[in-house]
Symmetry: C2
Subunit: 417 residues, 2 copies
């Protein structure tokens, strides 16, 4: 880890998520340029295509125009030894002591407000886990049996399921309220109507950074080599559709209308200072799921809900460290049957709820199935998300003056049509 | 439909799946050439790259080397008006009356036995349905309640779930018996061990031929425009792993270790003569799921199980026409929430079982959870699939002397390691 006093010649506001310790990667376009790889620093984007063009990355012997990419996949596929070296070089180039790149600052920096962000990776397969014990307990209590809220398998393996990759969209994309089938408890037949119980799920997701062959397993101790970095993830959920469709094969259309991610992919290296231990796991897990060392991360999370033209209310404050199952365990489990991975595959955490009701990661839990509505600053109530509401997830880690943040993932709900 | 007596100058054996009425597409390589698009005819492969090079496809104004492709996706993305015209041209070029292409037969034809087949499409997202009422009833009877074998939603919507695309492999790929967690009913704790109840699932899958945008719906009457063609699909299943892991979010590692598909993608046009009506749907489905006309297909299916060095036994004979939910309904349902599709996405039918026990599409059903073992020609018994067994699915449609087949999808089980 670098010295705390480490500073950049780029002006980074004190509370910026994008300090020189972060340097997350994203894909941006601007009126001048088509898609390319950038790095967030303060309120600016560092245009890596331009940095390469100016010769500052020559030592890495990358193809000409390498950073003029539609996705980060090829960059990530260079492998951690190379991407870490590039990260180190960028840290150096952006540091206050550096005197060369600063001369080209007007060429290589663009205000974030003037660029358009795109999906950072081409996602091959997407998996959603269910790894917060508080969330699983809350859902089990509401929908099944409070006495046996957790199903028998839950403490023995990180429950997960395959999700839809095509409908993962970038922050800012407006989300159309989905139509679907649902059935009221007292109705004889289902009806086809717009979703009435539209929800978010506060999640984070990791991006796979190294491919495997079919039949290969990744152990918990190897897993970090296979994780490139993380984003914020909103797993939009249509609760009425989900309730009717999900037996026996799991959620389907209740999820696949859209999931939203934040644009800046924070490399795992940037989260190194924020490692913490996870919750104790009882009973002891099977050997292939045992992990050593600090495998969780202390990442503060919050959820804001904003009616159109109104004031945003922070409706939840949670933390990634509450996760019962850590990412290494998730990946070890996911690959234990020989399932293969490709660079760019995405694995989401599942809803991240804490113990306190104020830390619950979905409307379902926050309003306890709508029985405890949230009062908004304008006096209106929310049981679930209403049309034209904007939902925003934010996240950052902070320690000893160092801040590494994820920015936000935001989405506005449009009426069904 | 063409005249029944329509013949090719290529020698096509009487019982060949690959008559001139079929002309399925695949990706092949040979000692001479890297991956390229071919069409199966009799026991030969027509090398479309070579056919184009010779100028026979000039009228379509395709880029040079267009058929030297790793996948069919770009070809399919040309759109049905163009791919149908190319199909018509190929039919003409291969017909007995044609006198030009035949002069180049040695250049454009290769024996199928001398080429290596590859995955025909780059699969973006993969969905598995559960659309055979006999299969769902059998499973519900065995695992839940014989009196209420079908869950309440089953007759109202085509139940489906997202699957793993990365582990879909081509016929001939050897399949390693997966490890995983399972728990015996009388055990207190789960164990980690190789799958003991390894199964196949007899399925077919369609390939999406036209992309949609997020928010777009495909109606049942539009759906055929969005389906390019079909393959045989073996949804390998680890029943012991599945039973323990699948609540509440559905099958995960029990499926994602591998699924196998047949190499030749049969275009929907080739199946036109074999349309039939589907089973009556009771109760009436919701409006968005109503479909008109003959939407099922009469495709005869069989399953062969062969011990190493032993004789194959046909353990099941089924038919695609048994499907309760047709492909148009599946696609209309899948997109009704606005979920978007990409060319190359794959949707599998779910296990295709008929009413008779001899038509069941999985070992689970054929041996009724292992209680009625199958006796093999060598006297050994099978409750589930054993190491070094080879499982093969075959399928073809036949009517009035016209045969359109899918070839086979085959996979041998290797011991866990």
């Amino acid at each position: 880890m670098n010295d705390v006093a480490f500073k950049s010649w780029v002006d980074v506001p004190a509370q910026s998520d994008f300090s020189i310790y972060n340097l997350p990667y994203g894909i941006f376009s601007s009126p001048q340029h088509s898609k390319r790889i950038g790095v967030a620093i303060g309120n600016e984007v560092l245009d890596l295509a331009k940095v390469q063009e100016l010769g500052f990355l020559d030592e890495f012997k990358l193809a000409k125009g390498f950073f003029e990419a539609e996705f980060l996949n090829d960059f990530i596929a260079l492998g951690k030894s190379l991407t870490s070296a590039i990260r180190q070089k960028l840290t150096q180039l952006l540091s206050k002591e550096e005197t060369e790149l600063v001369k080209h600052s007007k060429k290589v920096l663009l205000p974030q407000s003037e660029v358009k962000m795109h999906l950072p990776v081409k996602i091959g397969d997407y998996t959603d886990f269910y790894s917060s014990i508080e969330h699983a307990t809350n859902v089990g209590t509401m929908f099944r049996d409070p006495e046996n809220a957790l199903l028998p398998n839950w403490r023995h393996l990180p429950v997960g399921y395959h999700g839809r990759a095509s409908s993962i969209v970038i922050s800012g994309t407006e989300i159309r309220r989905p139509w679907g089938q649902s059935k009221a408890d007292d109705a004889e037949m289902p009806t086809f109507q717009p979703c009435r119980l539209l929800d978010f799920e506060l999640e984070m997701a990791f991006v796979v950074g190294k491919s495997t062959q079919l039949g290969e397993r990744i152990t918990t101790s190897q897993a970090e080599e296979y994780i490139f970095g993380m984003v914020l993830f909103n797993d939009w959920s249509a609760r009425d559709i989900q309730k009717w469709e999900y037996v026996p094969l799991g959620p389907f259309l209740a999820k696949s209308f859209a999931s939203s991610i934040s644009p800046w992919l924070v490399p795992l290296e940037a989260l190194e200072p924020f490692r913490v231990s996870g919750p104790a796991q009882e009973p002891e897990v099977l050997d292939y799921l045992k992990s050593e060392g600090l495998k969780n991360y202390d990442i503060q999370l919050e959820v804001g809900l904003k009616p159109e033209g109104g004031e945003e209310k922070i409706i939840s404050k949670s933390n990634f460290k509450y996760m019962y199952w850590n990412m290494c365990q998730q990946l070890a489990h996911h690959s234990v049957n020989g399932c293969n991975f490709n660079v760019g595959d995405m694995c989401a955490s599942g809803t991240i709820s804490g113990k306190e009701p104020s830390s619950y990661g979905s409307m379902l839990e926050l309003t306890w199935r709508g029985t405890k509505p949230i009062t908004m600053p304008d006096g209106t109530e929310r049981r679930f998300i209403q049309d034209r509401d904007t939902l925003t997830l934010r996240g950052f880690a902070e320690k000893e003056g160092i801040r590494v943040g994820f920015g936000e993932v935001s989405g506005k709900i449009l009426p069904a049509e």
